[in-house]
Amino acid sequence: MKLTGAQILVETLIEQGVDTVFGYPGGSVLHIYDELYKSCGRIRHIITCHEQGAAHAADGYARATGKTGVVIATSGPGATNLVTGIATAYLDSTPMVAFTGNVARALIGKDSFQEVDICGITMPITKHNYIVKDIGRLADIIREAFEIANSGRPGPVLIDIPKDIQAAETDFEHKPPAEKAPGRKPSDKSIANAVELIARSKKPFIYAGGGVVNSGASKELVEFAEALGAPVGTSMMGLTAMEYDHPLFLGMTGMHGRYAASKVMSLSDLIIAVGTRFSDRATGNKTEFSRDRKILHIDIDPAEIGKNIPAYVSLVGDVKEILGRLLAEKIKPSSKAWRNEVAELKNAPDNHLGMAEGKLTPEAFIKAVKARMPYEGIVATDVGQHQLWTAQYYHFRRPRSLITSGGLGTMGFGMGSAIGACIGSGDVKTVLFTSDGSFHMNMNEMATAASYRLPLVIAVLNNNALGMVRQWQTIFYECRYSNTTLNRKTDFVAAAKAFGIEGLLCDSLEKMPEVLDAAFACEGPVLVEVKIDSDEKVLPMIPPGGTIHDIILKG
């Protein structure tokens, strides 16, 4: 069967099980959009307001569903607008395939209209990328891209398709999607070493990262923690790996982690690190982090072993499978003394820093939202103080229910990712916690939420400032608030209405229940502007490069 490049693209996507793509049309992808039109809804295309929003949407879709996110953009600015979205996916290991059009092959290298070398630009932020110069290779390149995006540690792959390749014809035959290539597995000897290390530990601590969520290993993690009677702390990316209310769960560790999690970690003699890369935000001072304790590092990416923190024993492979193998071994529960010590620290007063009562605080608002959310609901965030408050106070119940930019820390990630996550999950109730700073970056995507009537609650925590940077200026720059106290004139409620979505104002604790009830009663998108104090801080805080001894508990 002879098909054009654009037809092959559509057919191969369907072959890979793709039913939804995000994107934005343009001159160099006209052939592709023509085929999407003619394919009569076999693939649903979600149009955003900006390619960055589409990239974040594909990312959010992938994070919420575990499927591969797909985004399409035109050449030149369309392609460069994807860059932040691709980098965000790369840093947080999200499977994504990005398609860009490019000018026809004969025009490449001539600085033609809307031509950029997007492969060159995205080389350091993709697992791999391709420019298709031979129509005969197109189908297999797309298949290979999906395989790479999903194999081992997931990540984004980009395929750049010149316009004439989209129009060229070649023979095409469907192939069944490739089976997942078997990944690395630790040897029995390494497993035995790990088991021995665990057996010798008197004070084990489990530190779980995003790899547990990616691998779908939450159940195994909980079973392992229970078998060992070991406390669990997580990175921000690993926050949904364990239900908050589990007795062994201590919360997030690191810069803005919970006191008990950081404290117990610092007292442990063994850290069992599962699916994590030891980000500097999570470890603080790297020398102190591994002083006086051993590290058992379990991760799918061999290059993470010893990259940031030296491992005493390492197990490379799929986290779910490895935890399963460890569970099959005889694991003796940790001592009662250690469990008592942990339990005591979990109840220490320093864990309950809570914000002032009797006024509208981020804590009060986030908890009130949680109380109204269904179990299946999804929470997305932007980046900044509101993100950390969400991480601290939302108390997650289910894996993949938090969509947040951990590694790259992308302000403006929220709207796109919330849209993608909401669509991917079959329009479940989704809440975006954002702020005046982050929301100003990509609020245009309100139009997308309105077009698709998404059940999205956009909570704009407005402190009239770039709160996180302002907090650092307060603590480390003697309150010199350079360009962070914004006091912009934006009327968010009116802006929401202008975009065709509901807008509500929450400016007092008394009004909060009524406003939230009204917001959650909306079937379509709704924005709630929440007025909060500019001086509200994210606490506790361990300064960069610090340890538990440097923890700041009071503002």
């Binding site: 492969c119 080389m123 791999h128 390492s314 490379v316």
Partner: protein, 173 residues
């Protein structure tokens, strides 16, 4: 520093952009390259890159592991320098009047180099050898005035039955 020197031999797909991927990885991870040489192998689909760099064991491991993650990289091998023949080619143009010419010819002979071009007040020499020999040759010629110099970077091959393309990257830890 000399003890920290290491040599990597890397087999890669012979495709456009692969060299950029490899050198870009070094730049992005703040890995320094002392020299890099690349060329097609007997299999036209495969190129071999030889990279000389320096750093401690931890650094070496990271370089190998990160390179191994590139899709186009087939084999990465940290060469055992005691079992590897290394060579580099250098072309050097040195100022030479009638007086100094004989001294330079002598050096060319001692270093087993070859004069490849002769002009009224300069001559060009080709020399092959280990990088340390090339360095010694440069130092000898420096007082005469070096007009131009170019080196290919180190290329290397394992001794005996050691065949790079038959090495599988470690699957087990």
């Amino acid at each position: 520093m000399a003890d920290d020197r290491f040599l990597l031999s890397v087999l890669v797909n012979n495709e456009a952009g692969v060299l950029t991927r490899v050198s870009g990885l070094f730049a992005r991870r703040s890995f320094n390259i002392d020299s890099l040489s690349v060329g097609e192998t007997d299999d036209p689909h495969i190129s071999r890159i030889n990279i000389a760099a320096n750093g401690d064991d931890n650094f070496k491991d990271q370089v190998v592991l990160q390179l191994s993650k590139l899709h186009d990289v087939k084999v990465v091998e940290l060469m055992d320098l005691s079992k590897t023949v290394t060579r580099e080619l250098m072309l050097i143009k040195v100022m030479a009047d009638l007086e100094s010419r004989n001294q330079i010819f002598q050096a060319v002979e001692v270093f087993r180099a070859k004069v490849i071009d002769l002009a009224a007040d300069s001559l060009s020499v080709e020399i092959t050898g280990e990088p340390s020999k090339l360095n010694a040759f440069i130092e000898y010629l420096r007082p005469f005035g070096i007009a131009e110099l170019c080196r290919t970077g180190v290329t290397a091959i394992g001794r005996g039955n050691y065949i790079l393309s038959q090495i599988k990257n470690r699957e087990e830890d």
